[in-house]
């Protein structure tokens, strides 16, 4: 049987995917902000 790709028109899923991936970057940025704040403590 001919295999088919998973549906590409699941826009809600793709938007959620982009938001989840962006959320990860936000967490990474938060961790870096903590370090930057810690090394700049007087």
């Amino acid at each position: 049987m001919r295999e088919r790709p998973q549906p590409l028109d699941n826009w809600r899923g793709h938007v959620l995917g982009i938001l989840i991936e962006s959320g990860y970057v936000g967490v990474l940025l938060g961790a870096a902000a903590l370090i930057a704040w810690a090394v700049n403590l007087p």
């Binding site: 699941n10 899923g13 990860y24 930057a36």
Partner: protein, 502 residues
């Protein structure tokens, strides 16, 4: 079948598929032609039409010469076709660059094409700030296509025959099937990239408009900067790189794009198709989080000593930005190249060098050791320590998570260690050549890590005036680093087979 006939058939097969790939890359020159027409850059139109003519002649010529080839690729033929086509595409793609008069020699033009295809981002172009829009379109399109892969492009649009196509896909440094069929995998990679192209260009366009750029200029800069970020390439249309825009928002949008761009396409596909938790569990994401955080601590400590960036926000904007740009192998920078050498301490530079070598995820647009391999070696280390303290009769099982749970086996560790060793040897070799030409050791090590990991950050060595041999070495190192050794070794093995007949 006789040995001579076998060798002839192998050459025909490689030539046929390389011809298809060169044709695909040649057709891409229609995009810069369109942009040049829009801006009335007639010289650029002629340069690209000439380039298109040469590319199609070479591509179709190879396809027709080799039409009788068997359409079944063995592993070695697929890998040789992939790596060989990258070399032809470099030679052909450099023609419009050279004709534009902005590159000092054909070697410089080829350097910039290889830098684009491999998503490195080093440049030898002269007077970048006054480059025609058409040429800028070509520079950024090269890096965008190079990030996804030229074989991936050809598999999506030009190559129908499937027998052995997976070997070419692997030959280009990607080894994961998102879907059971390699052609559908290639389509899925392009789907993710094009959706992000639309979203990222829109955001970068808005950021450009907010800093007062004209609508059309903001659009093209937005698209080009997106292409440079997504493909972790590092090209921008201005010589001051991202510093040119003097905009925190512009930098922030770019950071989001290049971190996400450095993710494995299998991870994108998993998250997009419903496996939301994958982003928290995937070994490459965890590995990236840990190494990026540790290395930023190193860079921050190195910079804190200098008092250069007095506030946490400045430290993030300068220190973290360069670190993450290095770690994702993007190469965008918000400081001048010589500031690394003049203002940054060796400790901070060491953080950037390690980040450049580690790189992003496997099967992504990024280069370097890759998070997967670093994660596997870390897991193996932990297992060894557990083995030391466990009773002799204990059976230890270590797993890592990439889309599914995988039991860590010796073959995973051996393969990861081999590639890391090869990358390290390549980096040491490029460092030695830089040092031979009289550049300071730390500068040579920094620049070598940048070309080995396909990063593009420069400490100032890469310039049109650098020795020609060093340019050739850097071209080879970028190519080897991007294709991850095996397909380049396949070329060497194939040549030996051709010469010796076995």
């Amino acid at each position: 079948m006789t040995g001579a006939k076998k060798r002839r058939e192998a050459l025909l097969t490689i030539g046929y598929y390389a011809g298809r790939i060169v044709t695909g890359v040649g057709l891409l020159m229609l995009a810069p032609v369109a942009v040049a027409l829009l801006y009335g850059e007639w010289n650029t139109v002629v340069d690209f039409l000439l380039g298109l003519g040469v590319a199609l002649t070479a591509g179709y010529g190879l396809v027709h010469l080799c039409y009788a080839a068997p359409r079944r690729l063995t592993w070695i033929h697929g890998m040789v076709a992939a790596s060989f086509s990258w070399l032809i595409c470099m030679v052909v793609g450099a023609l419009p660059y050279y004709l534009s008069g902005h590159w000092g020699s054909y070697l410089d033009a080829m350097f910039d094409v290889m830098s684009g295809f491999t998503t490195t981002g080093m440049v030898l172009v002269q007077d970048l700030d006054h480059l025609p829009n058409g040429v800028n379109m070509w520079r950024h399109l090269l890096t965008y296509v190079g990030g996804q892969g030229m074989v991936v492009l050809a598999l999506t649009f030009l190559i129908r025959e499937m027998a052995g196509a997976y070997t070419m896909y692997v030959g280009e440094g990607k080894d994961e099937k998102l879907l059971p069929n390699v052609r559908h995998t290639a389509q899925a990679i392009w789907f993710v990239s094009i959706v992000y192209l639309v979203v990222g260009t829109l955001l970068q366009w808005i950021a450009g408009l907010l800093i007062g750029m004209p609508v059309d200029r903001a659009f093209f800069h937005g698209m080009w900067v997106f292409m440079g970020a997504w493909s972790t390439g590092g090209f921008t249309p201005q010589s001051a790189n991202i510093l040119y825009y003097h905009s925190f928002l512009y930098e922030l949008v770019g950071v989001f794009v290049f971190i996400i761009g450095s993710f494995n396409f299998a991870l994108h596909w998993a998250v997009w198709t419903g496996n939301r938790k994958e982003i928290f569990r995937n070994i490459e994401v965890v590995s990236f989080f840990v190494t990026a955080t540790l290395l930023f601590a190193l860079v921050a400590l190195g910079l804190a000593k200098t008092g250069l960036y007095a506030t946490p926000l400045l430290m993030l904007r300068k220190g973290w930005y360069q670190l993450i740009s290095a770690h994702t192998t993007t190469g965008f920078s918000t400081i001048y190249a010589r500031q690394f050498a003049k203002d940054w301490t060796p400790l901070a530079l060491a953080g950037i060098i390690f980040a450049q070598l580690i790189g992003g995820s496997a099967s992504s647009t990024a280069g370097g050791y890759k998070g997967m391999r670093v994660g596997i070696i870390a897991k193996a280390l932990v297992e060894e320590v557990r083995r030391l303290v466990a009773p002799p009769s204990a059976v230890l099982v270590t797993k890592f998570h990439h889309i599914r749970d995988i039991v860590l086996e010796d073959r995973h560790v051996r393969s990861a260690a081999l590639i890391i060793i090869l990358y390290t040897i390549t980096w040491l070799f490029a460092t030695a050549v830089g040092s031979y030409y009289g550049y300071p050791f730390l500068d040579s090590a920094f620049e070598a890590a940048s070309v080995t990991g396909n990063v593009g950050l420069s400490i100032g060595i890469t310039a049109p005036s650098m020795p020609n041999l060093l340019k050739v070495v850097y071209i080879l190192v970028m190519w080897v680093g991007r294709l991850e050794f095996m397909s380049v070794f396949a070329i060497a093995g194939f040549l030996v087979w051709e010469v010796r007949g076995r």
